[in-house]
């Protein structure tokens, strides 16, 4: 028992660090400065492939009376379309539903790797992917706003709230800061930090169990508690996964809504 645990614990660094998020690359094997083909990017491609295959297979021959698979695919689209896009944007939301659904499904599956056995890390715990999505949302809502209001009038509309003139010097910088600077960062960091923290939490409790076992065999009950916590946290993580995918999609829709709004 003691020997086994030391063998187990020998590989276990504790506490986990940021470096645990940067696994050695797969091609070339074990490379540390090569990021083109790592577990993270492999999961990225698998996500994209799975989503495309799922939708193409389930929607190859759409029927008026849907089959079960077709119904599932339609429910996913219908959920984002009706509960996010149309709810927030009205009839115009239908035009944005395809992008929002793609976004939602992509984030959901990318997050989901955090609790899939053997994957157990979400690509979204690397800020690059949330950042790309956030920049797309950012560019999209500004573009839509400019298109809707006519070029620079959008900025006037977005920056100058209907308020007494003497407050404007205070309000305009705040509006500018919150709308055009904070938004992309908050979007990206919210998703990234949630997935990062989730992974970190699971690491802490899993590795912590081993670390305690390693330190003293009599801590074994605490190790068990620690691992039980890991399981509980996995459920919490599942909640966070779904919630963050939803939040990202809803916020993107809400930014578009703000860009399309005619009144403050």
């Amino acid at each position: 028992m003691t020997g086994q645990s030391t063998v187990l614990a020998a590989d276990v660094p504790f506490p986990p660090s940021v470096e645990d998020f940067y696994l050695p690359s797969i091609v070339p094997w074990g490379g540390h400065d090569s990021y083109w083909f790592t577990k993270i990017t492999a999961l990225l491609w698998i996500s994209v492939a799975l989503i495309i295959i799922f939708f193409l297979v389930t929607y190859r021959k759409p029927k008026l009376v849907p089959t079960k698979k077709q119904w599932i695919a339609e429910s996913i689209y219908g959920f984002v379309r009706n509960n996010i896009a149309v709810d927030m944007l009205g009839k115009r939301g239908i035009n944005f539903a395809p992008y929002l659904t793609t976004l939602f499904v992509f984030i959901l599956l990318m997050n989901f790797w955090a609790i899939v056995p053997f994957a157990q890390i979400s690509p979204n715990s690397h800020i690059a992917f949330p950042a790309v999505l956030a920049v797309i949302s950012y560019v999209m809502f500004i573009y839509i706003g400019m298109k809707h209001h006519g070029g620079l009038k959008y900025f006037k509309h977005a920056l100058i709230p209907p308020a007494p003139w003497f407050i404007l010097p205070l309000l305009i910088p705040i509006e500018f800061f919150s709308t055009f600077i904070v938004r992309p960062f908050s979007l990206a960091v919210r998703l990234f930090a949630n997935m990062f923290a989730g992974h970190m939490l699971l690491l802490v409790f899993t590795l912590g169990g081993f670390a305690m076992l390693n330190a003293n065999v009599w801590f074994a009950p605490f190790s068990v508690v620690s691992w039980a916590m890991t399981i509980a946290l996995t459920f919490l993580e599942f909640l966070v996964i779904c919630l963050q995918a939803y939040v990202f999609t809803v916020l993107t829709a809400s930014y578009v809504q703000g860009a399309l709004a005619d009144e403050h």
Partner: protein
């Protein structure tokens, strides 16, 4: 290989990663992957779903419309049948009226004919009666003449017998009769 792994790991440990700084390789891959995903889903999948939704709505609304059309047609047919029924009824009433009128006419005709016939018969009877009366009167008149003559001759004969009971006259008379009778018998 394991040694190189550890060497690399050791080297990597020296190059600190900042989790807030994105890796540009991952950014590039992220853009490509998400771009592919967006392209496929937004071009081939979700527009098809919208189409299917629209077709479904269309099918349901079309079904309702078809049902409404069928209902309208049924109503129209019912109306038509009712109109035809009413028409048939008025037609029947008209025919009945006509028949009644015809019957009345025929009755009137028959009555008229009967009356005419009876008149004719009565007239014929009257005529016959008149003719018979005429002939009877004529007969009577001639008979009255003969009777009168007979009576007269009887009366005259009685008178003659009373007045002149002469055998001569009677016998002459009988003789005359006898002669006339024998003469007649011989011829």
């Amino acid at each position: 290989m394991i040694t190189t792994y550890y060497q690399l790991a050791a080297e990597a440990a020296e190059t600190e990663h900042n989790p807030i700084i994105p890796l540009w390789q991952e950014v590039v891959l992220g853009i490509i992957a998400f771009g592919i995903l967006c392209f496929v889903l937004m071009k081939f999948v979700f527009p098809m779903m919208e189409k299917t939704f629209a077709a479904r709505v269309d099918a349901i609304e079309g079904g309702i419309k078809r049902a409404e059309a069928a209902q309208a047609e049924a109503n129209q047919l019912l109306e038509q049948y009712r109109a035809q029924l009413a028409e048939a009824r008025t037609e029947a009433a008209r025919i009945r009226d006509e028949a009644r009128a015809d019957a009345e006419g025929i009755r009137q005709d028959v009555l008229a004919k009967a009356r005419e016939e009876s008149d004719r018969i009565i007239a014929a009877g009257n005529e016959q009666l008149a003719a018979q009366r005429e002939s009877i009167v004529r007969d009577l008149r001639s008979e009255v003449g003969t009777l009168a003559v007979d009576l007269a001759s009887k009366i005259v004969g009685e008178a003659l017998a009373d007045e002149a009971r002469s055998r001569g006259t009677v016998e002459r008379f009988i003789d005359e009769l006898g002669a006339a009778g024998s003469a007649g018998g011989r011829r």
